[in-house]
C-alpha cells in the first residue's frame, strides 16, 4: 500500500521541523508583539515535539515547561503589563531589515557549516526503529551528567552547570534591582 | 439647647447676617444671608455647645409659577430657598438653616444664583451640593468638582425648577 511506503517517523520529523521554522519566520515577519510571542510559543512547542520524536521525553517536557510554560508566559506577561498601545505594533525600517538579514544570514551559514561538519551526519544512519529507545528516554543520565558523572567517559557538566546557575541568579537579582524604580504617584497626576 | 438661645448666639456672633427666623414652626428654622452661610456653618460645627457635626441634607426649593396668575396667588416673591438640615451626633440635637437666593443671579435669566460652598466644613456637602446644582440650579462657589450628578452631563435645564420644561428630545429619545 501507498501509506506503508511512507516513513512516518521522518514524516513527523519534517512536519515538526517545518512548523518550527514556519513559526520562527512568523515571529520575524509579524509586527504585532503579542503575536510574535504567540508564534514563538508554537515554534518552541514544535521543537519540543522534535525532542519527543527523538525519544528524549525528559528534554521535551523540559522544553515545554521551562521555555514555553515559564519563560514565554513571563514574556507575554511583561508585554501585557508594559505595552499598552505604543509598542504593540513594531514597525521595522528597510535599512534595519538589511542589517538584520545580513547578520542573521551569516549566523545561519555558520550554523549550517558547523552542523554539516559533524561526521555522524554523513554516516549511514540506522532506521529509527532499530535505535534502542531505552537509552534515550531516561532522565537519569542527564541528572548524573549534571552532577558530574558521565557514563561515557566524558567529563561531567557540574562546573558549567554551577556557573550557569550562579549567572542566572545574578541576572535575576539584577533584573529585580533594575525594575525597582521608586516613584511616588498621587491621585492628582 | 433651645431655639431661642441658638438664635441669640448666632445674632450676637454674626449680627445682620442672620436675616430671619421662625421658632414656632414645626421644625424651627433660622435664615442666614447667602454670603455668610460658610462662616455660620463653620461656627456651628466648631462651637462646643452646638457641635453640629452632621449635615443631613441640603435641599433647594424653588418658589415660582410660570403662570402669572398663580404666581400672584402663591403669595411669595419668586425665589430659590436652600434648606440645610444639620444635626449633632454628640449632642443629639438638630438645626435647620435657610438661605434665600434670587432665582437668577442679578435677575439675568440663565445665570445661576451663587452661594459659598460648605464642602470644606462637611465633606458630605460635596454630593448634596452637586445634586442641588443638578436639579435646582444653584452655583456653589468654592465647590471642588461641581458637576451634574443624577442627570446626564449634557442635560439641559434644572428639573426641579418650577419653570423647567422637559426637552422634546434627548439624543433621539422622545421626551414628551
Amino acid at each position: 500500500m501507498l501509506l506503508a511506503a511512507v516513513d512516518w517517523h521522518s514524516y513527523f520529523f519534517m512536519l515538526f521541523a517545518m512548523l518550527a521554522c514556519a513559526f520562527a519566520m512568523g515571529v520575524l515577519l509579524t509586527s504585532n508583539i503579542v503575536r510574535m510571542a504567540f508564534y514563538l510559543v508554537l515554534s518552541l512547542g514544535a521543537t519540543a515535539g522534535l525532542y519527543f520524536l527523538a525519544g528524549a521525553e525528559f528534554v521535551g517536557a523540559m522544553q515545554l515547561m521551562i521555555y514555553v510554560g515559564g519563560t514565554l508566559v513571563l514574556l507575554i506577561f511583561g508585554v501585557m503589563l508594559t505595552a499598552q498601545s505604543r509598542f504593540v505594533s513594531m514597525k521595522i525600517r528597510p535599512d534595519e531589515w538589511i542589517l538584520v538579514a545580513s547578520l542573521g544570514g551569516a549566523l545561519l551559514l555558520l550554523l549550517l557549516y558547523v552542523a554539516f561538519s559533524v561526521p555522524e551526519w554523513r554516516m549511514e544512519h540506522p532506521h529509527p526503529a532499530e535505535i534502542s529507545v531505552a537509552e534515550t528516554k531516561l532522565a537519569a543520565p542527564i541528572g548524573l551528567a549534571l552532577s558530574g558523572v558521565r557514563l561515557d567517559d566524558g567529563i561531567g557538566y557540574l562546573f558549567p552547570f554551577l556557573i550557569v546557575s550562579v549567572h542566572l541568579l545574578v541576572v535575576l537579582i539584577g533584573a529585580g534591582y533594575l525594575a525597582r524604580t521608586k516613584r511616588r504617584a498621587t491621585s492628582e497626576n | 439647647m433651645s431655639g431661642e438661645s441658638v438664635l441669640e448666639r448666632l445674632q450676637k456672633q454674626f449680627g445682620d447676617a442672620i436675616t430671619g427666623a421662625n421658632l414656632d414652626a414645626i421644625d424651627p428654622w433660622i435664615e442666614v444671608a447667602s454670603t455668610a452661610i460658610e462662616e455660620v456653618c463653620r461656627y456651628l460645627k466648631a462651637d462646643n455647645e452646638l457641635q453640629l457635626d452632621y449635615l443631613n441634607c441640603i435641599t433647594g426649593v424653588d418658589y415660582f409659577h410660570s403662570d402669572p396668575k398663580k404666581l400672584q396667588k402663591m403669595g411669595e416673591e419668586p425665589h430659590t430657598l436652600l434648606v440645610y438640615h444639620l444635626s449633632s451626633t454628640a449632642k443629639k440635637h438638630t438645626l435647620v438653616l435657610k438661605v434665600r437666593l434670587p432665582r437668577w443671579k442679578d435677575d439675568r435669566e440663565g445665570d445661576l444664583p451663587e452661594l459659598p460652598s460648605v464642602t470644606s466644613i462637611w465633606r458630605t456637602a460635596d454630593w448634596h451640593e452637586r445634586e442641588v446644582y443638578d436639579l435646582s440650579g444653584v452655583w456653589f462657589v468654592g465647590h471642588p468638582d461641581l458637576r451634574r450628578i443624577l442627570c446626564p452631563e449634557d442635560w439641559v435645564g434644572y428639573p426641579l425648577r418650577r419653570d423647567y420644561e422637559m426637552p422634546l428630545e434627548y439624543h433621539g429619545i422622545r421626551g414628551r
Binding site: 506503508a4 515545554l64 506577561f77 543520565p141 | -
Partner: protein, 413 residues
C-alpha cells in the same frame, strides 16, 4: 493494539498504527468531553444541594442528567461573537489552545495498569509541563479580547499559574523521589499492596505534602477560592468576558478536564492509582496477605483487573473533583495578593521543608527512616518493582553505572 490489528485483520502496520492512534484519540476525547459533561452536571447538582435547592431535575428524565448536553446544544447554537477591538486570530485560537493543552496532558495519564495512550517515561513531568501550557490559552484570550477586564484576568492568571507551578513541582517531586521514577504507571504499581502502601501514608511528610499539592493544584487549575482569573464579582468574567457560545464552552471543558487531570495525578501519586485500599487483584492485599495476583497478567484476567483498576481510579479522581466543587461553593475568594502570598510565603517553604523531610526519610538520615511505613512493613512494595530502570547501581571496579534494564512487569501501552 497495533499488533492486535495486524495479527487479527492482517492489516499493514501503518494502517493499523493510524487506526490505533485514531481509536486512542477518540477514547481520550470522549473521556475529556464526556467527563466534562458529567462533572458540569455534578457541579450543578452538588452546588444545588449545598445551596438548599435541587439543581437540574428535568432534562433527560430523572436528575436532569442531560442538562449539560442540552446546554451544549444551546451553546453551539449561539452566535459566535468576536468583539471589534479583538485581535481576531488570537481571540479565535485561544480556546483551542486551552482545550488542546488539557487534552494533550491526558495522553500521558494512565487509567489503569498500562492503560495509557502514550507511555511517557517522564510522565509526571510531561503532564505538569503540558498543564502549564493551558495558561497560554487564558492569557491570549485575555489579551486578544481587547477588554480591560479580560486583560486583568489574563495578568492574574499568568502571575498565579507561573507562581504555583513552583510548589506544585516541589510536591510532585516527593513521590517521584520515593519511587525513584517519573513513570506514572510505575509509581502507581509501587502502591499495589493495599492502603498502607499508598504514598500518602508513606511517612508524615508525604501526608503533609499531599495537602499542599491539592491546594496548589486547585490554584493552578483556577478553581475557587483561587479562581482569580475569572472572579465574577471583580472582573465580570475575567479572561472569558467576551466569549460566547462554543468557544466559551471550550474554556469550560478545559477547566473541568484539568480538574480531573490534577485529581487523577493526585490519585496516582498519593492514593495508589488504580489500586484499591484492599488490593484484591494484586499480589498482596495488605502487607503480606496474598491477593489474587491478576493485575498485569497478559490475559483476560489481566484485562478484568485493568477494568476494575480503571473504575477504581476514576472513582478516586472523581472524589477529588467533588472536593474541589465542595470547596468552591463554600469559601469566599481570596484576593490576588493573598493568593501570591500564600504561594510564595507558605506553600513553597512548606513544600520545600516536606521535600527535605521526605529526603531524610528516604535516605534514612538522622534515623528518620523509621518514620516510613516501609521500615515497619518491609514486604509492602512488591519485590518485582524494587529495581527500576535508571536506578544507580554500584558495579565493582567501574564506579557508578546505570541499570537500564526494564524490570517492571507491566504491559507497554
Amino acid at each position: 493494539m497495533v499488533d492486535f490489528f495486524v495479527s487479527t485483520f492482517g492489516m499493514s502496520p501503518t494502517v493499523a498504527a493510524i487506526l490505533a492512534a485514531g481509536i486512542q484519540c477518540a477514547l481520550l476525547l470522549n473521556v475529556v468531553a464526556v467527563g466534562a459533561l458529567v462533572f458540569i452536571w455534578m457541579e450543578r447538582k452538588i452546588a444545588g444541594r449545598i445551596q438548599d435547592r435541587l439543581g437540574p431535575t428535568r432534562v433527560g428524565g430523572r436528575f436532569g442528567w442531560l442538562q449539560t448536553l442540552a446546554d451544549g446544544i444551546k451553546l453551539i447554537a449561539k452566535e459566535d461573537l468576536t468583539p471589534a477591538d479583538a485581535d481576531a486570530l488570537l481571540f479565535k485560537l485561544a480556546p483551542y489552545i486551552s482545550f488542546a493543552a488539557s487534552f494533550t496532558a491526558y495522553m500521558a495519564l494512565p487509567f489503569s495498569d498500562g492503560w495509557v495512550a502514550v507511555h511517557v517515561n517522564a510522565g509526571v513531568f510531561f503532564i505538569l509541563a503540558v498543564l502549564g501550557l493551558e495558561v497560554f490559552g487564558t492569557i491570549l484570550a485575555g489579551y486578544a479580547s481587547g477588554s480591560k477586564w479580560s486583560l486583568f484576568g489574563a495578568i492574574r492568571e499568568a502571575a498565579q499559574v507561573v507562581s504555583y507551578e513552583v510548589p506544585l513541582g516541589l510536591c510532585v517531586v516527593v513521590p517521584v523521589m520515593i519511587c525513584g521514577t517519573m513513570d506514572l504507571v510505575a509509581i502507581a504499581n509501587m502502591q499495589s499492596a493495599g492502603i498502607w502502601s499508598w504514598l500518602i501514608f508513606h511517612d508524615p511528610f508525604t501526608f503533609c505534602i499531599f495537602w499542599i499539592y491539592f491546594t496548589c493544584a486547585m490554584a493552578s487549575v483556577n478553581r475557587a477560592p483561587f479562581d482569580l482569573a475569572e472572579a465574577e464579582s471583580e472582573l465580570v468574567a475575567g479572561f472569558h468576558t467576551e466569549y460566547s457560545g462554543l468557544r466559551w464552552s471550550f474554556f469550560f471543558m478545559a477547566e473541568y478536564g484539568s480538574m480531573f487531570l490534577v485529581s487523577g495525578l493526585a490519585v496516582i501519586l498519593f492514593f495508589g492509582g488504580w489500586n484499591g485500599p484492599l488490593a484484591i487483584m494484586s499480589d498482596k492485599i495488605i502487607g503480606v496477605i496474598p491477593g489474587l495476583g491478576l493485575a498485569g497478567q497478559p490475559n483476560a484476567w489481566g484485562f478484568i483487573a485493568g477494568c476494575v483498576g480503571a473504575a477504581n481510579f476514576i472513582m478516586k479522581a472523581t472524589i477529588g473533583v467533588t472536593v474541589m466543587i465542595w470547596v468552591r461553593w463554600t469559601l469566599p475568594r481570596l484576593r490576588i495578593d493573598q493568593v501570591m502570598t500564600m504561594c510564595l510565603k507558605y506553600c513553597v517553604p512548606l513544600a520545600a521543608a516536606c521535600f527535605l523531610g521526605a529526603v531524610f526519610v528516604k535516605a534514612e538520615i538522622f534515623g528518620l527512616g523509621y518514620l516510613s511505613v516501609d521500615a515497619w512493613l518491609p514486604g509492602l512494595r512488591s519485590d518485582r518493582l524494587e529495581v527500576r530502570e535508571g536506578w544507580m547501581t554500584e558495579v565493582e571496579g567501574e564506579g557508578v553505572t546505570l541499570s537500564t534494564e526494564k524490570t517492571l512487569v507491566h504491559g507497554d501501552g
